[in-house]
Amino acid sequence: MIKVEGLTKRYARNIAVDNISFEVEKGQIVGFLGPNGAGKTTTMRVLTCFMPPTSGSASVAGFDVQQSPMEVKRRIGYLPETPPLYPDMEVAEYLDFVGRIKGIPTADLPKRINDVAEKCAIGDVKKKLLGKLSKGYRQRVGLAQAILHNPDVLILDEPTSGLDPHQIIETRDLIKGLAGDHTIILSTHILPEVEQICGKVIIIAKGKLVATDSVENLTSRLRGSETVAIEVIPQDGSAPPANVQSRLEQVAGVSRVIHKESKDGRLHFTVESLEGRHIRPGLARAVIESGWNLNELHGMALSLEEIFLELTASHKPEAAEALKEAAAEAPAEPSAEEESK
């Protein structure tokens, strides 16, 4: 559906996007990740025909962005980084204007506007001036504007920035609901968001493609070795920390156990796994079988920014493996906790 080949975009002096290629299939949701200044917005601007590439090519639904921009524009809904709103227009008026320039037949327009207003939860501000909306509502109107003409391809530049937690969830659900019929590229800095809604991830840094992969592959690759925080309560207080520690070290796949602290009989450890090993089930079993209580067990989160600092510092994907840990799968496995009771 979307095909990018050797895309390069050079501003007066600096190269914003440097020879990147990727493909997106129909119905996929793709997360576009990268630190600030990576070139995400620039790539999206090329895809939406806002600016031509310096070299290389990009096509949407088989239409080249330079040869047949009209066809591409008809099929794309675009939410720019700052929602493109006219402060002196009312929300309904604005959507009407956008509908017209997107070529929606006038007869269908009121219905479409009502639909998207409901989907994006902006029904109650329809008569408000855009200039008087809060940041979150601006973002919602921006999203409504992007999906108004029901485009095949949606390009969303940080769609959840500025939204409240409730609305973030709604927006993610909305985006997930649009998948299938629509092909979606969204940029974000939030890794859990990608894990939740995207099937595929494209990572760029400093204009270069660092990785493109499915979410599962990528997270396991980023994780490489896993770091787990574990809290154990030896029932009778008899087991000294050293005993517990040596028991944990015996679990298959564990490379290192660090005793953090002991408080009120609770022992905290940080456990690192060998590369590519899942140690959480083994750890839980070891604790339970020893007759201790397993109070807490969770993977430790590593923010995307940290990952990217590492990735961009060395310029190669393998750097990910050097990372101590990745990704937030924060909640402990519930089964483990139940077993301990």
Partner: protein
Amino acid sequence: MNTFTICNKEMQSYFRSPIAYTVIALWALVGGFFFYFGLSFFVQRSMESAMQGQAFPMDINEWIVRPLLSNVNVVALFLIPMITMRLFAEEKRSGTIELLMTSPINDIEIVLGKWLAAVGLYSIMLGVSVLHMAILFRYGQPDWRPLAVGYLGLLLQGACLLSIGTFISTCTSNQIVAGAIGFAVSLLLFVLNWVSEFGSSVTDRVIGYLSVQAHFESFSKGVLDSKDIVFYVTMIILGLFLTSRSLESVRWRA
């Protein structure tokens, strides 16, 4: 269709912001002053000549309409940059240009729509001064044809300067800068004919030919000269062409 949508949006935006009211109020005020002044002068002169026993009916067209047209022409020169300065500069500043340029509409439609809205506001402004003229018809018998030609001239000259102002607005994302440069350029185009008053070499005459004011003279005399109409239409097309080219380069530089 898209042109009309854009034009409509711009027109509404003029009347939501203070711009339309400011422009029209200034026009009515300053134009009204010139009109009052011209009229008083005329009345005084005609009374004097009546007392000296000369034949009364002095030509209203000659004495009121023509000076008035030249004077309001200068007023329009000041107001035109106010009309065009925000057209593209504001879209560039706020990022809404991204919406327009990623929508399935031609650059030409955007340019035409915006320019037409500017011409629309300018025409409304001219319309206000038609009220002055109505007074002349109420109390005198001016010839309406030269008057209509004069207004056509004002409209054409305005449309020409508006297209150039629109072009200048695409070159910056700062309204004030667009307004200032627009005014300077309009003023220069206005007074270029001074050059040909000092020299008569070919260059001087070519430069003089580019003066928008020189081409207005025939209109203010009530003469419809096709050469002048061609000049204005050419300038309008040139301005709109430059605007769409400049919009294209906005894409490259973004």
